[in-house]
Symmetry: C5
Subunit: 349 residues, 5 copies
């Protein structure tokens, strides 16, 4: 938890802020228009600057946001506002869109299940697009955009014919599509929990439900703002978003609403599961108590009868007779059978 | 659940997307105006194109959306946007309306109870209407629109006199009317559950309540968006919807609000049932515990008394007397009767 | 429940729709202006038509909506839209107002407790008012408007001086006033339940609470839409509602908000009652268990002591002594008293 | 409860409406401007009329609203709408503001704890202010406005320098200030309940919580509408409210929002208390059951052992030996000690 | 609680209002522009007035609001409205912003954990900024603004280059940043509670949960209004807030929304913890009851068997035989073992 909130005092100069991690930062540049396509991995950020004034569309993808000097050079070149720079390197941003005059800044969260652990991994992705450039920042080296690179390379479909805004749309779409995988996993885990809960309550189930609820909260926190974000993009008055692209942003909006709907379903299902779990506990207690009561109700009177004939009075009728012991046993049997019938009538057995 | 969310990465070309199922696609064309009526089942989609430029109103009904080439030919002929085409073949759409310039696209869900299983069947229905044409897409061959075909054939009522927008209204109305049957079924099942719950709690009841709640969530998810959808149609600025038709869309809106109201009622009733169920469990536990307590409270003191006279002390007064045993029995009887009175006073018996 | 939802497929011609019940339809006409007043019961609906073009205000009250031909004749004469006609005869309408050009259509629900049964009776009332006429439809012959007839006859107050819109207001006001009686009944029943719940939990109470909640849901469903309906009327741009009448519609609005507020109070009170009920159950279980525990805790050690001296060892000290038995009894008494003190200290007794 | 809803059919003439109670109606008139101040108690309402046309500001305070003829005379003199008159004498009004052309009508609720009873007393207060007059109506003779009279008399502060709208503000402010006392009482009672609940659950506590919740509902019902009311006054376009006064109405708005916030806090605290209460009940049940189980688990095996040696078999080893009885006791002691260790290990003791 | 609501009747003159505490009031003045910087602690408030007409930006920080005469002198000098003055000294203000013509008034809450106690400390901070001055009021001497003083002194970053509105932003930002520390603490305490609850329910945990919920409510109450406050500042039409500063206020808005999101997460986690806690209680009860039932079910039949052979009938078969006692023991052993198997099959052991 504390990881989520651990946020140092913001400082207005980023220089000293960013953690100095040692992994290298990978910068990839793709430059294309309808007819040409060029892709290269650059070693220094300055190599990107040449692309800035070309009329072709340039996509700079930065994997790693911990090298402040790289971010600052890019910011200087593309004239980014210092606060934007700060937001890119602060990985605790809420998904949002900032519509500045010469570029649009989008920040959102990508979700994935880690390979070795079952915890959901959150990664912050920042996308900046202007007239003829798109810059994307990922926290770590990832493959979520590979499919788009493929499409750009092949030159099939409409992606090469359209502008930077369409590329930005494609990036956001790839991230949102990712959520559906998470949803699928949720769906399967809830289905599994359902079967488990009905077959018998177990504390482990409740912990798993609780765990799922917690993950769901995080997921919702990441997705809810997307709705407004995308509505903002669709209705933006920015000249950077062409009318022909707006319908595509509306399309992702529909996907996001679909995800939110599914999460509401999951949520109500989890609430229902808790109810079933608790009532199963009550049911089980009832069962236990019935067993106890049946046993006690049968054997207490019987033991009482043995007690009567176990008293040391001399003059107890029947003690000395041959029929005494069988008669006593018969009485006890009758009492026992009567009790069993009684419980069967109340359908406790 | 996973069925619902299993949604592959969207691709911008549909060609490889749609599942290649082998059932045939049935295409029916009805062409009519106030005086003429023509209905035929076509074998190839191209036969429809001739109707496009006729001034009469043409209704093309496509049963089956898995043949991509048919969809694409229709799209080309009627100039549909690629995203619309994608939405038609993606059966996970949320109900919505898209108001494009030359046509209006409506997607909604039809619900029905399957014959052999008690699960609700969801089917996606897409309706596109333009100036003088309506195209409807169903996932499977169905009979929900038969009644409208009948009305068109008979030529009674106002349906033949009005335009394509009215036909679209009639199709939506037929689907919404269908929901009332589902609601009726819900109502009957809840009534049945009510009687069951009150007569005695059973785990099966809770599972059935949970099952109903789940179905209700799906139903709500399908119906809620309809409200906005229909308001959108009623207030649309599209020239394709004539003023005289708007009041009809408002009428369906009223039906949808009625359905939503009923579902809210059902929901609160189910919540109430869970409460009754849980308190019945508690009540039953109370009953069981009372039985146990009554039995224990009566027989423990009695057994203690037998124990006293069962001790092997030589000098216990009364052991040797004739009145000893009857006196002991009398004491026990008195204790037992006192206990019974005590419990009756506390109204446990 | 099913009564509420049983709604056949709507047909655009009403002729075959309405149930052909055999009770007669009573039509009453009141025609008045500031100086004149005429009231008569007509046998055929055609007698009403003469009043249509008179400058005086005409109020036609129709008790019974099952004779389709009567509704249709009225509709023809007053040029009502076919959908309005449909709404009048479909008794499952949600309260709403339709502002057509030459008349305003209001549909709402009247509530009353049946005399012989404790169920709430819902009756749909439709009111249509135009420039100089008001038509009201009731499902059965009722007396809710008698007071207004009285006022019209007496000619006191402002009712005769004002227009058809004011008469419509008076009708709506009479219906809303009726709700207060229902509220009073609710209040009394909840007060009664409160006393019952606190004096001791009983399954019958829970069922009654559940019953009340259900009725409350129906009531709310009828009243909530009234709020918007009346706001709609107050702010309507219709020329049929004069400015001087608007303040009266705002006044009923206040009453409706007052009713909604009271229902919210009732609702929270019922929720609180369920909580008290459930915790009373828990409390009672606690009480039962305490009795059991006290009894068991006192008699188990005692019985154990008797068991010790009941063992058949020959060399048990004290068995043969005179003081043996009294000593054993004394030990047991001491143990018993100690236990009682212990429980009193824990305040279980 | 029924008191709250008991509302007779509204009649448009008030003459016969108001209950004819016998307490006298006290009318006080204060007439002032920046330099002059005059206060007198009048015997007949007609004495007030002279003040109407004076340029000074006149405040008429009427304690008692049951004398209809007084209200009507005032209404005639100050040209009040009949519906306003009705609202003043109907003590079931929801707080609201009516902005008529020549005066503004405010109705709100004053709350106070009765001296002899712990129930909250609700009193309806109506305030009407025009250009140079304020009329206030209280149900009974009260002292809530004494402080304002004092300030007017002393002539200190800005109250004498400002207009009738400021005086109206001062009256509303006095009433809202009163709510803080009620809130304080709530706070203290909740704090007390908190301590009680934690120290041990008791049915009386639950009833008190329920009682507090009910009072809270009433309080909320009275205060919520105040928010809109005051916003309405602040933003009113009425020429009767001067710009310099608006900031004061916004100030009371802040107080009302503060009260609503506090009530939300109280509400959540009460909900939390119910949770603690219920879990305390469960805890206590657990405690009781543990005692029972410990006792049973210790003494049942022991009693069984005594039973073994109490059987009348002749050849039971050890019965005749001197070490027999001590050995049996030793076994029992060992079993008992083992059990105690077992329970301590499970930390039940 | 009562501390929170204890608010005396507001009086329109503040003179007698403020509590006359004896701690000194510390007033610090910082005067700066891009090139100059001057800081001094003043002894009398009049020393500040000289700065008012200088073109440089003046920041007056007042630690302590209990000396009414100091507040009044400042108010006179900077022409503050009397209600503003009142709000500054009333420490029960809800966070809000008042946009007056020549200055903007912001009031918000600072939170901190007290050193010696674990209770959250609330401190009210008022900030007033005009064209070239900022006045801030703290309740006690604090160090929250030290970092800003540092930045001003160093003259690095943009703070010295920008106006009074930017300084006000920096102050608000410092306060909001403080909330993140509180959030961190919450996160850690909830994580700790989670582990505790899962390892075993304890009444102390529930009290701690309840305690945390209460603190959360207070926190929320302080932060929620901040959202609107900051939106108000960002979109304010005041000429005092320059366009270049608005983006900074939007930035704090994002932080506040982030805090609100985190609190929603915490809240749902606490609710989930209560659920786990309650179901753990039920589980534990189940465990206890199972132990009891197992013990009773094993020993009751065994004791009954000993009772049979303990009866004093003369003719009980086997009593006199050598195999009698071992046979009885064998029977008992068999019964006991059967029971153990039975319980293992039901997986109670």
């Amino acid at each position: 938890m504390s990881k989520l909130n651990k946020r140092k005092y913001k400082q207005l100069s980023i220089k000293t802020e960013a953690p100095q991690r040692q992994e290298p930062v990978r910068i990839t540049v793709i430059d294309y228009n309808e007819t040409s396509f060029e892709q290269k991995e650059v070693n220094s950020v300055e190599e990107c600057f040449a692309f800035k004034d070309k009329p072709t569309i340039t996509w700079i993808n930065v994997d790693g946001i911990h090298k402040t000097e790289i971010l600052e050079k890019l910011a200087n070149c593309f004239e980014l506002h210092p606060l934007i720079l700060e937001d890119i390197s602060d990985t605790d941003q809420r998904p949002k869109v900032e519509d500045l005059d010469t570029y649009v800044y989008i920040v959102l969260k990508m979700m994935s299940y880690g390979y070795e652990e079952s915890e959901i991994q959150l990664e912050q992705i920042s996308i900046i697009f202007g007239n003829n450039f798109v810059i994307s920042f990922q926290q770590t080296i990832g493959d979520v955009f590979d499919r788009i690179r493929e499409r750009l390379k092949n030159g099939k479909g409409r992606i090469r014919k359209m502008g930077a805004d369409y590329l930005a749309y494609a990036l956001v779409d790839a991230i949102v599509d990712n959520y559906f995988d998470i949803l699928d996993q949720f769906g399967e885990r809830i289905e599994f929990l359902e079967e488990e809960t009905i077959s018998g309550p177990d504390t482990a189930i409740l912990k798993e439900i609780y765990h799922l609820k917690r993950e769901m909260i995080f997921l919702r926190q990441s997705i809810w703002p997307l709705r407004d974000l995308l509505r903002g993009l669709e209705r933006s008055e920015s000249h950077l978003i062409k009318d022909v692209t707006r319908i595509y942003f509306r399309d992702i909006q529909d996907h996001v609403i679909h995800i939110i709907d599914s999460m509401d379903i999951f949520r109500e299902m989890l609430t229902g599961l808790v109810e079933i779990y608790l009532s199963s506990l009550s049911n089980r207690l009832n069962e236990v108590m019935k067993v106890l009561t049946v046993i006690a109700t049968i054997f207490m009177p019987l033991t009482f009868i043995t007690g009567i004939f176990g008293m040391n009075f001399i003059h107890i009728p029947g003690l000395a007779e041959h029929w005494g012991f069988p008669a006593a046993l018969a009485i006890m049997l009758a009492v026992g059978i009567y009790m069993l019938f009684y419980f069967r009538k109340r359908s406790w057995l």
